[in-house]
């Protein structure tokens, strides 16, 4: 019953947060120096057209009522119109969200496949040469720009071998899968180092704890102790890491989509930023914030379900 109360309260916390997030997103156009409509349409804009756009972006009204308009429209699923693409922002997001979801999914999958064995190796050979090697490479990997890594994969893997498409998303499932491999790998390599580091620490802590000593004392072999007892524990405690890494993951997504010319939300965001298509920037920013809020909520809930020690706050 306590648990249930915690979940409800935690879920309700997102309501005020959402309200303020919407406010920030709506206020984004207000920071534009001068007149957003002029900045977007250029000097050749007719006054009538500029005035209409100002009205659409809500900057002709006071801040608060502009916010109320944006928020109430957003809740009804209307995020305004893209000036450049001449279509509703929601349509544009709908067309592109698939590519982004594919990339996110496979990047996370690859990162996990990479981080899990390396973290286990590192933790079992703690402070031996292999451990130092893995940790050194992770520090190095943290300094590699993701877009550069993408271009490196293109010029030294895709182009010489001809095994992978260099750009675009292709047609049909097989081509999608084929063209997502390298971008997902680039993104995975960007987030794996932190996962390796955190998982290694969590594993070492678990391997030194009482319940693992008990499992060993019962005569279980080391392999079983590690996989059945230490690893699940370590994975639970590094669950929050996923939420913390989401920001880096989403920015990496933007960069990788541009490097591989994948027609996803990241590419749309960059295009909208350079074209000053504010409604699109607002819409995608809102979506990204929504994702962060929901993932944080999901992680907290999962955490409470998995770890009975989490108490009502």
């Amino acid at each position: 019953m306590h648990r249930f109360g915690f979940l409800v309260r935690r879920a309700l916390q997102i309501v005020p947060l959402l309200a303020v997030v919407l406010f920030v997103v709506a206020a984004l156009v207000r920071v534009v120096p001068g007149d957003p409509a002029r900045a977007l349409l250029g000097l050749g804009a007719t006054p009538a057209r500029a005035a209409r756009l100002d009205q659409e972006l809500g900057v002709d009204k006071p801040l608060l009522s502009g916010y109320v308009d944006y928020a109430s429209h957003a809740i009804q699923g209307n995020l305004g119109n893209s000036v450049k693409a001449q279509e509703p922002v929601t349509t544009l997001i709908g067309e592109r969200v698939g590519v982004t979801a594919w990339l996110l999914f496979f990047a996370l999958l690859f990162a996990l496949l990479l981080a899990l064995p390396l973290a286990i190796l590192s933790a079992r050979r703690r402070d031996r040469p292999l451990d130092h090697g893995i940790r050194g490479v992770s520090v190095l990997a943290l300094s590699i720009p993701t877009f550069w890594l993408g271009l490196m994969l293109v010029s030294y893997v895709a182009l010489p071998t001809g095994w992978f498409p260099v750009a675009g998303f292709g047609e049909g499932l097989a081509q999608h899968l084929h063209s997502i491999v390298l971008p997902a790998l680039a993104l995975a390599l960007a987030i794996a180092p932190i996962q390796i580091r955190a998982l290694r620490v969590a594993l070492i802590r678990a391997l030194n704890s009482d319940f693992v000593a008990a499992a060993r004392a019962m005569g279980l072999n080391e392999r079983r102790v590690l996989l059945r007892h230490a690893l699940p524990n370590a994975m639970v405690s590094s669950l929050t890491l996923l939420a913390a890494q989401l920001g880096a993951l989403l920015f990496g997504e933007v960069v990788v989509e541009s490097a591989f010319a994948l027609p996803g939300l990241g590419q749309a965001m960059v295009q909208a930023v350079s074209e000053r298509d504010y409604a699109v920037v607002q819409g995608i920013t809102l979506l990204a914030a929504l994702l962060v809020i929901l993932v944080n909520l999901a992680v907290d809930v999962l955490y409470a379900l998995l770890d009975p020690r989490v108490q009502v706050r």
């Binding site: 947060l17 303020v20 997030v21 920030v24 984004l28 156009v29 920071v31 534009v32 120096p33 900045a39 520090v139 190095l140 943290l142 300094s143 590699i144 720009p145 993701t146 877009f147 550069w148 271009l151 490196m152 293109v154 010029s155 030294y156 182009l159 989401l246 920001g247 880096a248 993951l249 989403l250 920015f251 933007v254 960069v255 541009s258 490097a259 965001m269 960059v270 909208a272 930023v273 350079s274 000053r276 504010y278 920037v281 607002q282 995608i284 920013t285 990204a288 914030a289 994702l291 962060v292 809020i293 944080n296």
Partner: protein, 262 residues
């Protein structure tokens, strides 16, 4: 300790190159030689030339004058702001604390660099926008770090003694608390510089950071991209330079962390 030394050494080299770029660089960053485009390494051009016939090595050197100062300023402002707010939030109870921390929670509801990107859209491209956008977002991490530290230090005896001695907060905070909570933000600053160098070059690569033809490492990679098929090595020098700078600052951070842990 060796980590710290090597790191400081690498960073020092970068700083020296940035300061003395005009003396060290064999050519100007934007002096073109259209008769010698996309050339491979030679004694005259140690790292070859780019698509406009500019010397790659010289552009790398001049790039240090853009990437390093922008990254350092972009880190210093939020570090300062966040440390001050964290101090206040940790020291003064409920109201200040919840005001600062609720704002921090709000900022953290956004994916940080997506928000920076959105702010750059609003403020217009360029280094100045990136610095402002980072300042608006990045202080949160410092505020949280410092606040947590202050809450720990606050209960120590020497603070109680200072209070009992009748010292006002404006003296206790900077003199007695600040020096004891600086370790964490200082260590984080080093990884933050790495993140900022990566973010700045990424945004420039995306065309919303430092505008071309400025010699900036991300711009150089973006300018090399159309020639991946014919001159794949052109993306190597700026990319490896970014990696090396990142390793330098990371090692300083790791070294500092090791030192403080003792």
């Amino acid at each position: 300790m060796t980590k710290l030394r090597v790191g400081v050494g690498v960073v020092a080299i970068f700083v020296l190159v940035a300061v003395f770029a005009p003396l060290l660089a064999p050519y100007g960053p934007n002096s073109q030689n259209l008769l010698n485009r996309l050339a491979g390494p030679s004694p005259a051009h140690l790292l070859g030339t780019d698509a406009a016939g500019r010397d790659v090595l010289s552009r790398l050197f001049y790039g240090a004058r853009v990437d390093l100062p922008v990254a350092l300023i972009a880190v210093a402002i939020p570090a300062l702001l966040g440390t001050c707010l964290g101090l206040l939030a940790g020291w003064y109870g409920r109201f200040v604390q919840s005001a600062v921390m609720r704002t921090a929670d709000l900022v953290l509801a956004f994916p940080v660099y997506v928000l920076v990107l959105a702010l750059v859209a609003a403020l217009g491209p360029g280094a100045r926008s990136i610095i402002i956008a980072t300042a608006l977002v990045d202080w949160v991490i410092y505020a949280r770090l410092v606040r947590a530290e202050v809450l720990q230090v606050k209960g120590r005896d020497y603070i109680a003694a200072a209070r009992a001695g009748g010292l006002p907060a404006r003296r206790i905070l900077p003199r007695h608390i600040l020096p004891n909570v600086l370790a964490q933000p200082l260590v984080y600053m080093m990884s933050d510089v790495v993140i900022l160098i990566l973010a700045l070059s990424s945004l420039s690569f995306l065309g919303v950071g430092v505008p071309p033809p400025t010699a900036e490492w991300g711009v150089m990679i973006a300018e090399a991209e159309p020639f991946l098929r014919v001159r794949p090595w052109l993306i190597l020098p700026p990319g490896l330079t970014i990696v090396l700078a990142g390793i330098g600052f990371s090692m300083v951070g790791d070294g500092l962390a090791d030192r403080y842990r003792r």
